[in-house]
Amino acid sequence: MVDLRITVTLKKTVEDSEGGSVLKTLKLLGYDGVKDVRTGKVYFITLTKGTKKTGREFCEKLLANPVINECAVDD
């Protein structure tokens, strides 16, 4: 049994409007100490067989678009 955590984020060069909206809201809520917010999606995947490499295949085949995304696999 392997537990993977796959995090898909936007590349730094792509504008993250979701992050922008959260940043703006946190500031409006009075948190002026917030400098930057980037957002992403995370997948917790349990495998009965497979490895971290399988996770990287998931990135490629389904979870991320290399043109705009970065995809990190942790176990």
Binding site: L10, T13, V14, E15, S17, G20, S21, N65, P66, V67, I68
Partner: protein
């Protein structure tokens, strides 16, 4: 003058052609040697070298995407000028008249190249861009539309068709739903033609009070330029150049990828329209391809003005952008408002109220020079006429001789099975898996939506109808037409068929067609055979529109939809709008009652090339169905008369899959069946049922109105049978051809979708 030897000078003086083309390549200009030398001559006359800002600005303006340099000569000849008296205004979008006070603004545009590389962002920014075009005219968007062409084959080096499809649909959904304009009409076509050249054609329709229509021309000095909306970043740089070249692989030029920000756009639309409503806007244009450069240049040039812009004033996403980057960036969600000085304060207040970034960045001036400053330095100083007048090309064209082989398939035995195959074909079955992800009722004005009939078992509708003003009875009908399968065989007839389908669909809901927007998709125009196809298509469009006397008020050309050896057919997507004079007269295709007469308007033929029937039989060849605009006009407008005078209870146009498919679709939303007798048609049964006659409809006539209906339609109508309970049956005299239960039709059409 820009001082010689300035830091960003591009040394062109006395360079030979190889060196010029090297410059074009190095700076990603996408210009030919001729174009480079034309630039060189201009600057030699000015007695200096250009700055990088100038070179980039000219390259944007002269790109295929911005300048239509390969198509303009032909568009002028075939497209512009038809039905002129019906055009209220033209600009980023075109307008026709809905009633005395109101005009309809509409446009369709392609976002093919961006969508092939990054489908989600490409499609989303396509919706964003087309919305801006409508808002640019001062109009309130009332509907978004999308016609999508997906491949069916995975091509090496490009993303899989499934991935592209998912991304495109999600992009349109997430953007369209968030801006709150209903996505009400469109189409999806699957074919190998579109691997890997996916096509995303998006349209938008809006309404505006005639006295509030804005042009983009600035013809007075001292008019202030305000940039409003999103900030300017490095994104989208050289997008237009990419759209003007053939794709090499799926992972090109990443700097052009953007995702769009609908929640920046949504309030921007409100704010700009409010400013316009209050009479504060002098001229207006959106920032799309070519960015500020193209917009400022065109606004000034079209009004015969010059002007100045201070680039330091442009709100930026990232500091340390180079001046040329700011000037040609294609960052999304931006509009340029031209405002008289005394109204600037009020406009900025409105922007502030809506929480929108806005900044005065320049003004118009007498004369024809455009001057741009950055950090106190003059970085661009150009004659606007020169900048915005590219070389127009009349590229060589050739027409492939086509031998038409009429093929006769074997006489089939099981017609019911063939019909069910058609109903469940990828290109016919329900689009709910996509369209139900689009909000099509937002704004509360959708009178006919994409699906109509009994709630829970709705069937497809032919056109959507929007009621733009809750205080009036009139409606705007919106639909599309295109048939790449016909166009692939015969681009001329394919063009005519696209117009035919558009008109058919509008008539089907009880709308009078008012005009078209044409989105032209093609390959590399530098190849003579493609230019030949392009001209053929235009001829077809021309003849149909001319005979109908209906204008193309707007449109766009997308060339270079090629990758390797694969390319798309040359064909148009037509967006059509029509007027429903009283919404209570609008009509839907679901049968309304049993024991009513069913009429055929139109005549099935043996021209089956490109038809769904032949495609499913894998028959390559045959003549494509012939569309005659004069017949279309006679039948269509007579049918419209019959609808408006209350003789008709449902109408569906005949398109893919012919009469049998059309009638099956009419049973879906109604749960009412039909009994047809093909005897009067005198054709082979499969041709009678499955040929795709142009200018054809199936009509359910109200009880005891048959005589009146026949009188209006004359010889164009033919009695075919009756509606009935329970099943759909087709006979020819004694011979039983089809008998299927309505649930089976529904199930095949739904293919598992709930």
């Amino acid at each position: 003058m820009i001082e010689k030897g300035a830091l960003n000078e591009v040394p062109m003086f006395g360079k030979r052609s190889e060196e010029l083309s090297h410059i074009s390549e190095r700076m990603h200009l996408g210009l030919s040697v001729e174009e480079m030398s034309r630039m060189q001559v201009y600057f030699e006359n000015e007695g200096r070298n250009p700055s990088d800002v100038e070179v980039q600005a000219i390259a944007q303006a002269w790109s295929e995407h911005c300048s239509y340099k390969s198509s303009k000569i032909h568009l002028k000849k075939y497209i512009f000028g038809i039905g002129k008296e019906k055009v209220v205004a033209e600009g980023d979008a075109g307008l026709v008249s809905l009633d005395d006070e109101t005009a309809i603004a509409f446009k369709m545009e392609s976002h093919n190249h961006p969508s092939a590389i990054e489908p989600y962002g490409g499609a989303a920014t396509g919706v964003g861009g087309i919305l801006r075009d409508i808002v640019s005219m001062g109009a309130q968007p009332i509907a978004v539309t999308d016609v999508l062409y997906f491949g069916t084959k995975k091509i090496k080096g490009f993303p899989s068709p499934k991935f592209i499809e998912g991304g495109v649909i999600a992009g349109i959904r997430d953007y369209g739903n968030r801006v709150g304009i209903p996505t009400v009409s469109g189409g999806i076509v699957y074919s190998e033609f579109f691997s890997p050249n996916v096509l995303v054609n998006v349209g938008c329709v809006g309404v505006v009070e005639k006295k509030r229509i804005r042009s983009s021309a600035i013809s007075k000095p001292g008019i202030k330029l305000i940039i409003a909306g999103g900030k300017t970043g490095r994104d989208g740089i050289h997008g237009v150049n990419m759209a003007s070249a053939v794709m090499e692989s799926g992972e090109e030029d990443i700097s052009t990828v953007q995702l769009g920000s609908p929640i920046t756009k949504e309030p921007l639309i409100h704010a700009v329209l409010e400013a316009n409503e209050r009479g504060l806007v002098y001229a207006l244009k959106d920032l799309g391809g070519g960015g500020l450069s193209s917009v400022v240049g065109e606004m000034l040039q079209s009004g015969g003005m010059g002007g100045r812009v201070l680039l330091d004033r442009v709100p930026l996403k990232e500091s340390n952008m180079k001046p040329w980057e700011i000037w040609i960036s294609e960052s999304q969600e931006r509009m340029l408002l031209a405002v008289e000085e005394e109204k600037v304060g009020e406009v900025l207040e409105i922007m502030e109220d809506w929480d929108i970034t806005a900044e005065v960045i320049g003004e118009s001036e007498e004369g024809k020079r455009l001057r741009i400053f950055f950090a106190g330095e003059r970085v661009l100083d150009l004659d606007t006429d020169f900048m915005t007048s590219p070389v127009l090309y009349e590229r060589p064209s050739s027409i492939k001789e086509r031998r038409i082989v009429q093929v006769l398939p074997k006489n089939p035995t099981d017609f019911g099975k063939i019909l069910m195959g058609m109903i469940s074909d990828k290109n016919v079955r329900t689009r709910e898996y996509v369209v139900r992800q689009y909000d099509h009722t937002v704004r509360g004005s959708t009178v006919i939506g994409p699906f109509t009939g009994i709630v829970g078992r709705e069937g497809p509708s032919d056109a959507s109808v929007i009621r733009p003003d809750w205080n009036k009875e009139s409606g705007v009908a919106i639909t599309h037409g295109s048939n790449p399968f016909y166009s692939q065989i015969d681009p001329y007839m394919g063009g005519k068929a696209a117009v035919d389908e558009t008109v058919r669909n509008l008539i089907s809901v009880g709308a009078e067609p008012l005009g078209f927007s044409d989105c032209l998709n093609s390959g590399n125009p530098e190849k003579p055979e493609i230019m030949g196809e392009f001209i053929e298509m235009l001829k077809g469009l021309h003849e149909s529109a001319y005979d109908l006397n209906l204008p193309f008020v707007s449109g766009n050309v997308s060339f270079y939809n090629e990758a390797g050896k694969r390319r798309i057919p040359t064909f148009p997507t037509i967006l059509g709008v029509g007027k429903v004079d009283t919404i209570s007269n609008a009509i839907s295709p679901d049968f309304k009652g049993t024991d009513r007469s069913i009429y055929l308007v139109g005549i099935p033929t043996t021209d089956m090339g490109g038809s769904l029937y032949y495609r499913r039989l894998k028959i390559d060849g045959g003549r494509v169905p012939y569309s005659d605009p004069k017949t279309l006009k006679r039948r269509g407008w007579n049918l419209l008369r019959a609808i408006r005078s209350g003789k008709v209870s449902s109408v569906h146009d005949i398109s893919e899959g012919g009469i049998a498919t059309a009638i099956s679709e009419m049973t879906i939303g109604s749960g009412i069946g039909a009994l047809l007798d093909l005897s009067p048609l005198g054709l082979r049964a499969d041709f009678a049922m499955f040929s795709e006659p142009q200018s054809g409809w199936i009509v359910e006539v109200k009880k005891d109105r048959e005589r009146e209906f026949e009188e209006i339609l004359g010889e164009d109508s033919m009695y075919l049978g009756q509606t009935q309970e329970g099943s759909f049956e087709v006979v020819r005299g004694e011979e039983k051809l089809v008998s299927v239960g309505l649930d089976l039709i529904l199930r095949n059409w739904k293919r598992g979708y709930l």
